[in-house]
Amino acid sequence: MGETVQKPTVPEQAGPPAAESTAATREPLLEVDHVTLRFGGVVALNDVDFTLYKGEILGLIGPNGAGKTTCFNAMTGIYQPSEGEIRFRGERITGKKKHQITKLGMARTFQNIRLFPEMTALENIQVGADAHHKTSVLSALFRLPRHHREERDGREKAERLLDFVGIPGRMHDLARNLSYGEQRRLEIARALATDPVLLCLDEPAAGFNPAEKEELLQLIRKIRDQGVTVLLIEHDMRLVMGVTDRIVVLEFGKKIADGLPAEVREDHRVIAAYLGVPDDDVA
């Protein structure tokens, strides 16, 4: 089984089995091109290389400390790769500012929730919606028509998104007063408000019970059905297997597998990474 996965990834492998005909039309959305990231002597990402295609749900998994979040951070502009580059929608984003990358259509959530705690749920989402607004300080100061138009637009979008993620009643509550699960949902809504093409979810199910996880699964599928490509970091193997089209596995900053969920599950290196290897198998 391992051999199938170690072959270089070709688009056919990426799609669902029935989608072979569409393989040629699959458009790469995000290309992580041989990215290496060092912090002093520590190599956090070592020649990581994978491509994310439009419309899929890609899982990024790996044991703790494998470099999953680091990879997210490199993609969203928090870290700059030491080597290699990242292309998004064909454009090189290495070296771009964080807010510019967001404007290009990449949005993310955080492993440890990072909402704006003293703003209401509505305001949190409005901040996301403002990413594409152009109201200047002057038009805000004098309440020019653009301010009113964009304010209305942001508000409507926020209401729609609160409804979409399933917390419509919490509009005027402070983010810090929402329950844990609601905060996770609000974070997704805030990210969606920036009109992303690619949504990166960093362990969105952390701390969820099975029922909540199931709801989250539905939500992720719903997001994909809206035409948003999803990159998902997740620990829960069942959730990952259930929702992703394709999986990339990292271990110690290196990619060790890339393929369909069924293939990855059988890959001996992945099993070894998650469960450890008997001593006689080493070497």
Binding site: T76, G77, I78, K97, K98, H99, T102, K103, A107, R108, F110, R114, L115, F116, P117, E118, M119, E123, Q126, V127, G128, D130, A131, H132, H133, T135, V137, A140, L141, F142, R143, H147, E150, E151, G154, L174, R176, N177, R190, A191, T194
Partner: protein, 369 residues
């Protein structure tokens, strides 16, 4: 102590609840009444009925003018500290830039000898203070928290030292005969003269109202949300598409604008500007005013600025057991700050968000036993 805090809190909370649920017309009526009250305040016919409120040791109109300048400064600093969360310890530096620009352009003791009228120098002063805000902000706004605080502190000191020792800025001798704002009554007497401080107060009061409307508009827009998101979590804000650097610069520039306005008004009233006006203490007083009033709340900043300035002036001319209380005014001021930070760390009129936070904490304490 908890119960005292409880009592203070519940009282304020009831008022704010009632305020937020009051019909619109009623709120406007209250605001209008407050504004009328403050316009009427410097008239002897009015304030003689107010018991111990008017100051005894100095002209009440003059005191009100000083208070109004502090209020204006507090409203400006509140943008920087309260909204955007940038700790600026050198805010008074912008006041200095405004006052000195007017002085240099208008005073006969200036080397420039331009002798402009006050009104012509005003826009130049405002633009220059905004530029100085951007100039200070561009290299320094990459710093955060304590580091930014130290740099801004240095900025105010630089301005003070430059004013003290540069020949061009005249040091302690200062600039005299700075012209007053224009305008005259029907009988030809100038509105803004030397003897009557009230017109200056009315002018500043009017400008405060305009500035507050502007700041409120900004706060309730994309700009205000960007500022607050920066205060809450700068990295997350940037990842949500907020150009944080740009909006931090705007916070600095808007704050500087208001500081410069206060400086220009002060110069126009006082006739005289020298390096003695530029103590570090002023920056600290304004920051204390913002925090005392309730950081992040415009009304809080107004109340804080007003109370702090009034408190300091109120001691003038009061003698107790042979001691001039005015000499100890900053001791009382410090005492009030300490007491405030124990009983109401969120400020007198905290912003809606902060109020909720402290309310929750209180609940947690109760639940926890």
């Amino acid at each position: 102590m908890t119960s005292v805090r409880e009592w203070i809190y519940s009282g304020r909370h009831a008022v704010s609840e009632r305020w937020h649920h009051a019909p619109r017309w009623m709120r406007w009526a209250v605001i209008a009444a407050v504004i009328v009250f403050f316009y009427a305040l410097p008239n002897r016919e009015f304030y003689q009925w107010l018991g111990p409120i008017p100051t005894t040791g100095s002209n009440f109109g003059q005191v009100l003018f000083t208070i109004s300048i502090y209020v204006l400064l507090a409203v400006g600093l509140n943008i920087v500290v309260g909204f955007a969360g940038l700790l600026d310890l050198g805010y008074f530096g912008f006041f200095a830039v405004g006052a000195y620009t007017v002085a240099v352009l208008t005073s006969p003791s200036s080397d420039l000898k331009t002798l402009w009228p006050w009104l012509l120098a005003l826009p130049v002063a405002l633009v220059l203070t905004m530029i100085s805000g951007v100039m200070l902000g561009t290299p320094t706004l990459r710093l955060r928290g304590d580091y930014l605080a130290i740099v801004t502190l240095g900025f105010a000191e630089m301005i003070r030292v430059a004013a003290t020792s540069s020949e061009f800025l005249k040091g302690q001798r200062g600039f005299n005969q700075i012209p007053h704002p224009p305008g005259s009554y029907a009988d030809g007497k100038p509105i803004f003269g030397v003897l009557d401080p009230r017109p200056y107060y009315w002018l500043v009061l009017t400008l405060i109202i305009l500035v507050v409307i502007g700041v409120r508009n900004l706060n309730r827009s994309r700009v205000g949300r960007a500022w607050i998101s920066i205060r809450e979590d700068e990295d997350a804000a940037q990842l949500m598409g907020v150009p944080t650097f740009k909006f931090k610069l705007w916070a600095f520039a808007s704050g500087a604008f208001i500081g410069g306005l206060a400086g220009a008004l002060f110069a126009g009233k006082q006739n005289f500007v020298s390096s003695q006006n530029l103590e570090l203490l002023n920056s600290i007083i304004i920051l204390a005013a913002v925090i005392l009033g309730g950081s992040g709340n415009i009304v809080g900043a107004i109340v804080g600025g007003g109370l702090v300035a009034y408190m300091i002036e109120r001691f003038r001319g009061i003698e107790l057991l042979g001691i001039q209380l005015y000499e100890y005014r900053f001791m009382f001021f410090g005492l009030v700050l300490v007491v405030m930070m124990i009983f109401r760390p969120q400020g007198l009129i905290p912003n809606r968000r902060r109020a909720a936070e402290f309310k929750d904490r209180r609940k947690e304490v109760i639940v926890g036993g």
